[in-house]
């Protein structure tokens, strides 16, 4: 079932939770709503489910207007953030609930319900927990039961509110893959809400980034990462360093701030604005290069798993936040950076946001260019 959202808006008191927005979710798609808290993503999900009513606008399921339809008649599966399992019922009773409350005519027989519950428990691999109570389950188990309960009604749309938010990192990773497989197997349309960019990028077919009740960008994970449409998206995807500068009066290919500067490759014209550089799209060395002069002082070096994170403070120029650059272990081993050392950053790719352009300018310093210039 496809979902069409037309000019939906919502206000809570003085707070505009959703500004009029449009979104189309195709049949069988898995869409992640990504945004910080207060961005309206959960409100949007609840409006799709019918748990919240929109002030204006329309919701269509496969072209049919369901805006005025009560949540119980929308037949969507909803998985709540904290699972919302019925605490006084066993796992099996929880899963059977939706079937048990069907009107007598449509209700399957007791034996059929029992069999369907057993099948669902099997699907979520928790058959051995059928007679337990929710309080006796771990977070990951509760999440699976909540999913099984929603799936019992064979919904064509599955909505999940921060499905993995309260779980530890390992279980979260497992469940993500499991959800993705389940989605592919059963073929329903899924929308899930998350504030974790990694989660959104890993699981979704398409990511919708929201901020302050608006959609900032909707794109495939790859496109989102390669071409963030706004500063907000860039910032929210994380790990970004900002060099704020203006076109140099000395050399026309340079963006400068004080003594620090970055020279743009041929064909790019610098303009006053902010150059966004991701932490893994920078390299560090002891010498400035011909294309960049960005002196930095090392504040901290942390070895985290596969990578080494270096925290840096601008030396002789300004930046709102500390810079962070990721280097490889082999680079770390040969270089041996120490706290307090001075080094120079060299960008490989970045995007320039200027005040008069909406779209950022993507710049890349190719290896050849770097070699030629530094040679």
């Amino acid at each position: 079932m496809s979902i069409q959202i037309k000019q939906i808006s919502k206000q809570f008191g003085d707070f505009q939770a959703l500004k009029p927005l449009n979104l189309t979710i195709n049949e069988g798609e898995l869409v992640g709503l990504l945004g910080p808290s207060g961005s309206g993503k959960t409100t949007l999900l609840r409006i799709i489910a019918g748990l919240e009513t929109a002030d204006q606008g329309q919701i269509l399921f496969s072209g049919k207007d369901v805006t005025k339809l009560h949540v119980r008649d929308r037949k969507v599966g909803f998985v709540f953030q904290h699972y919302a399992l019925f605490r006084h019922m066993t796992v099996a009773e929880n899963i059977a609930f939706g079937l048990d409350v069907l009107p007598k005519k449509q209700r399957p027989t007791k034996a059929t319900i029992k069999q369907q519950v057993a099948e669902l428990l099997d699907k979520v691999q928790l058959s051995h927990l059928a007679s337990r109570y929710p309080a006796q389950l771990s977070g990951g188990q509760k999440q699976r039961i909540a999913l099984a309960r929603a799936l019992a009604m064979q919904p064509r749309v599955l909505l999940l509110d921060e499905p993995f938010g309260a779980l530890d990192a390992k279980v979260r990773k497992e469940l993500r893959r499991w959800l993705r497989n389940l989605h592919d197997e059963l073929g329903f349309t899924s929308v899930f809400v998350t504030h974790d960019q990694e989660e959104a990028l890993e699981v979704s077919d398409r990511v919708v980034v929201m901020s302050q009740g608006q959609i900032e960008q909707e794109a495939t994970p790859q496109a989102l990462y390669q071409q963030p449409a706004s500063r907000f998206v860039y910032d929210f995807l994380g790990g970004v360093n900002v060099f704020e500068g203006q076109a140099s009066s000395l050399a026309n290919n340079r963006l400068e701030q004080g003594k620090a500067w970055v020279a743009f490759p041929d064909g790019y014209k610098p303009a006053t604005g902010q150059l966004y550089l991701r932490s893994h799209e920078l390299s560090l060395s002891n010498q400035p290069s011909a294309t960049a002069h960005l002196p930095l002082t090392i504040k901290a070096v942390s070895l985290i798993g596969a990578e080494v994170r270096v925290e840096l403070e601008p030396l002789g120029w300004q930046s709102q936040d500390l810079w962070e650059v990721v280097i490889s272990h082999s680079h770390y081993n040969t270089w041996q950076p120490q706290r307090g050392d001075t080094c120079f950053a060299q960008p490989q790719a970045g995007q320039l946001f200027t005040s008069n352009e909406n779209q950022p300018l993507a710049i890349s310093w190719t290896k050849e260019q770097l070699l030629i210039k530094t040679a």
Binding site: R72, F78, H82, L85, F86, H88, F97, L102, A150
Partner: protein, 286 residues
């Protein structure tokens, strides 16, 4: 929950700052002395006094015509008050915990009025409003409806005095539980009634029973407000607490204490049920 408790009790065995053995013994001793002299001894005295003239006299006093009527009236008042406030309390708790509306906070404060107002004042309020001297009272009189100095008046003030108990028990619990289980039930296709019956009610049942027990205890034992509106007509508008006072004023000490044993026995029963319910509530919360 239980883990938390055991770790706390472990800590309390170690000596903390200000925890002197003699001070602890002194305080524990004082507490038992006070509870004993102020609570337990008077309770025993009630039973001792009632039975002081022998079991026969106790029985005669108990089967007295007016005593039986007082028991009947008290039960009637409780039987009307408890269901009324049960429904009212659930509705009110539902309203203030599940909906946002202007005036919600004020409403939550207003619930406590019966706790804040002296029962005598409450009785007087009703007397002035519905008594024959008032505009409402005279209109009722013209239609041959007597509320004051009759059982309906007693029920009215008792409802007023006991209306916060159920709501007060439910509101914090329902706030803490939140509405997501109810939303889950609705999203699974349950009707409003199915949701209430199968999800809301099982979640609040122990707190609800607890509120009912408290409401009942207060409804049976209320003296101040009832005494203002009842008019103390023996065999007509005399509830059990009023009856105790009346017998006492008649210098029928044994009779007064006999009726008092009924109230005391009910109080003890309430305590037992209340302790059990509190225990169950903790069980279901953990």
């Amino acid at each position: 929950m239980s883990n938390h408790k055991t770790s706390l009790s472990k800590v309390s065995h170690q000596q903390r700052i200000g925890d002197q053995p003699w001070l602890r013994r002194l305080l524990i001793g004082l507490a038992f002395l006070l509870v004993g002299s102020l609570l337990v001894v008077p309770l025993i005295a009630i039973f001792a006094q009632a039975l002081s003239a022998g079991l026969n006299i106790f029985w005669v006093n108990l089967s007295d015509k007016y005593t039986l009527h007082a028991i009947g009236l008290t039960l009637l008042v409780a039987a009307l008050t408890v269901p009324l406030n049960l429904v009212f309390g659930v509705f009110l708790a539902w309203l203030v915990t599940r909906f946002e509306f202007p005036g919600r906070r004020i409403l939550m404060t207003l619930i406590d009025i019966p706790f804040a107002v002296s029962p005598v004042v409450a009785g007087l309020m009703y007397l002035l409003l519905y008594g024959s001297n008032s505009w409402v009272g005279s209109w009722l009189m013209d239609h041959d409806l007597q509320l004051m100095f009759a059982w309906p008046g007693i029920v009215m003030v008792t409802v007023f005095i006991t209306c916060p108990f159920v709501a007060r028990e439910l509101i914090p619990l329902m706030q803490q539980q939140g509405s997501s289980e109810e939303e889950a039930a609705l999203s699974l296709g349950a009707s409003g009634w199915q949701m209430f019956r199968r999800v809301t009610l099982p979640n609040i049942k122990w707190a609800l029973l607890y509120g009912v027990v408290l409401t009942n205890a207060r409804a049976v034992g209320e003296f101040g407000a009832v005494s203002v509106v009842s008019g103390n007509i023996r065999g007509e508008t005399n509830t059990l607490p009023l009856h105790v006072e009346l017998l006492y004023q008649d210098y029928n000490l044994v009779g007064a204490f006999t009726s008092a044993t009924l109230l005391a026995a009910l109080a003890l029963l309430t305590l037992v049920v209340k302790t059990f319910l509190e225990w169950r509530q903790q069980q279901s919360a953990s």
